[in-house]
Subunit: 397 residues, 2 copies
Amino acid sequence: MRYAPLTQAIQGETVDAWDIHFKATALKEQDPSVIVLSIGDPDFDTPAPIVESAVKSLRGGDTHYVDIEGRDHLRNKIAADHQGRCGQQVTKDNVILLAGAQNALFATSMCILEAGDEVLVLQPNYVTYEACIQLTGAKLVPVSMDVDHDFCLDENALLQAITDKTKAIYFATPSNPSGVMLTKSELQFIADLAIKHDLWVMSDEVYSHTIFEGEHVSIAGLDNMAERTVTLNSLSKSHAMTGWRAGWAIGPTELICHLSNLSLCMLYGLPGFVQEAAYTALTDPNALAEAEQMRVTYQRRRDRLLSCFNQQPLLTCVPPKASMFLLVNVSQTGLDGQAFAEMLFEQQKIGVLPATAFGECAANYIRISYVVDDKQLDDACARIEAFMAQFTQVSNE
Amino acid sequence: MRYAPLTQAIQGETVDAWDIHFKATALKEQDPSVIVLSIGDPDFDTPAPIVESAVKSLRGGDTHYVDIEGRDHLRNKIAADHQGRCGQQVTKDNVILLAGAQNALFATSMCILEAGDEVLVLQPNYVTYEACIQLTGAKLVPVSMDVDHDFCLDENALLQAITDKTKAIYFATPSNPSGVMLTKSELQFIADLAIKHDLWVMSDEVYSHTIFEGEHVSIAGLDNMAERTVTLNSLSKSHAMTGWRAGWAIGPTELICHLSNLSLCMLYGLPGFVQEAAYTALTDPNALAEAEQMRVTYQRRRDRLLSCFNQQPLLTCVPPKASMFLLVNVSQTGLDGQAFAEMLFEQQKIGVLPATAFGECAANYIRISYVVDDKQLDDACARIEAFMAQFTQVSNE
C-alpha cells in the first residue's frame, strides 16, 4: 500500500535512539540487577494529593467531553504562574492544554511550519524535535552549542545559520540532554535575532522547575518577544507525571485559536480528571512541597554522580544546572558515545543513552538520567568505576 | 506572524457546526431548562468497575511513561475481539492505542494521505473528517448517500467519484449522524472498488456496539481487505467514556509501525491508568453488562423520539439502526436545518445540530442526540410538538 512521504520524515535515528533503552527495560523484567539510566522518567510516583484529585474527579463522574482548550480555572492558573515568573502579560486565552509538552511541540510545529521552512535548533536537542519539524516538510538546521565551553550559546554559529528561509528557532532551557540553562544575555541575543528576522521562537521549558543553581529566564518575558514566542511546559518532570500526558503551550491568542482548531480534530481535549489533577499539582501546598522535595533529591543525586565522574580522568562532565540528566564526554576512552553505551550495557547492565541521538555535536557523549534511588545510584557508580578500570589499564600500558 | 497554510485547512464550517451547541451549553449553566441534544456525549457516567480500575492503577503508581503502542494485554484483547467479530486475522501488532478514535483518524490520515490525493467520503459524515483530510493537503470528495432511500449507498455516485487521484474511501458504519449501517453487500461493493483501484479504506466503527437492529459488518473481514483497511474504534460511546480519550486503530502492521513513530512525537502513549480502565471496560462482566444496559436505554429513547416525530406530518426521520442520533428532515416546514435549529433553540431552548455540518446533502436535516434522561426527553418531545404547531397552522392557512 502507498504511504505518505511523512512516514519517512518521522523515522530515522531519533527513533533508533531508544534501542539500548528498550533493551535495558526488557532485560530488567527478567534481571532486576539491570540499572536503567536511559529515560527521563522520574522514579517517584505522582504525589498523593494529585492522584486523589483525579480519583475524586473520576468518582464524581468527570468522564465526559471537556472544553477543547482546557478548563478556565486551570488555564487561568497556568497563565498567572507564567506571568508571575517571567512578566509576560497573559490570560487564559494565551494558554491551551495539550497531551504533554510533546503534543504541544508537535501541534505548534504543524501550525507555524510548512514545506521549505528552515528551523534553527540549538543542539544537542531532545530527540523528537527532528520528527516534529520534518513532518511539516520543514528542515531542521542544527546549530551546535559551544561544546568546548560547557555548551553555552555559540552566537556566531547561530548568526551564520540564518537564511531567508529561516522561520523559527527551537530550543529547550534548561536543556535536555545537557541540563544547561541559557542565560539572560544569551536569550537576549536570540531575541534580537528573532525580532530582526521575524522568526518564531519555541522555548521548551519543561525542566524549568528542576533547577539546582542559577535563575531560569523565559524568553517570552523579554521586550517584544510575546508575539513571536511559544512557551512549552508540562507537569511530567516537575511533578513526576510523565504518564499523565498533561502539558501546554503559551503563545499569542491567534496561535491558541489555531491550536484549538487543530486539537478539535487531533485530540478533542484532555480528560477532565487529568485537568483536575493538574490544577491540584499547581495549587495544592502538599503537592508543591513534594515536587520541591523531588528537586532537592535530583540535586543530591547529581552531586553524587558528579563526584563519581570527577574521579575518572578519562571522563568529563558538563555540570548540569538543572534537569535530571548528565552529559558525559567519553572520547578519551577511545570510544564514541554509542560504542561506550553499548559496552557499558553489555558488561555492566547499565542502560544509558548515546547522546548522538541529540545531535552530532554530542556524538562523544552519553546521557545519564538520575532517576533511580540512592542504592541503585551507588551501585551504578561502583559499576562505572569497575567498567572504567579497563580503559585506565589500556592507557597505562 | 506567519502561520502555516494548514491553519486554513483546519478551520471553516466544520468548526462552526458547534455554534448552537456551544450556545446551548453556555445558556444551560444559567438556565437548567435548556435541553442539549446537540452532542454525542452519553449522559451516563462511566461504569464504576472501569472507574475503580483507573483508581487502583493510579493509587498503585501507574503514572509513568508507557509503551507507545499500548500495553500488550490490552492490544491482545482488542485484537481478539476484532477477530472474533469480523474474522480478520490480527494480533496485537495490528493494533495501536491512541487518544480516541478522533486521534486515530487524524494520525492515520497523516500516515496515508498527501497533497494531491483525493479521499471519497460517504456523506453525511462526522464533522472532523474534513479537517483531518485537508490538513494533509489531500482533498475531501463528498459522495452523497442516497438521500431518497434512507441514506443507503449510492453505488453510482461512488463509482463516478473515482479518479486517478483517489487514494482512500472514508466512512463510518454505523454512521454518525444518520445511524445507518452499511450492509454486507454495500460493503462488498466498496471493497471491490477499493481492491480494483488500490485504495485505502477507513472504516470508523465507533458506534458498532450501539446497535438496535441488523448486523454490524466490518469491511476488514471481507476477502483481501485486511491489507488496505484501517478500522477505528473507541470506548467513548459504547462505555460512556468520551472524556477518557481512549481509542485505537487496527490495520496492517506496517501502518501500525508508522503510527507508532508518529505517536512517539505526537502523543507518547496513553496514560497507563486509562489503559487499565480500558482493559476493564472490555473484560469486566459488570462493565460489559452496564454497557449493554446503555444500549437498551438508547434503543428505548430512539423509539420514544421516533413515535414523537411520526406524529409530525411535516417531519420525516431516517430510522436509525444504531448510534445515539436521529436525522430529521425539516424541509417541509419551509426551513433548512440551520434555520430550524436556530429557531428551535430560540423558541424552545432545545439545542440540536444543523446537519449541514455533516455534508450538503443533509442541509435539510437536523441531528438530534438522545443523550438525556426520559424526563428531559419527554419534555423535549412536548416542546417540539408545541414548536411544530406554528408550521402546521401556516400550512393549513
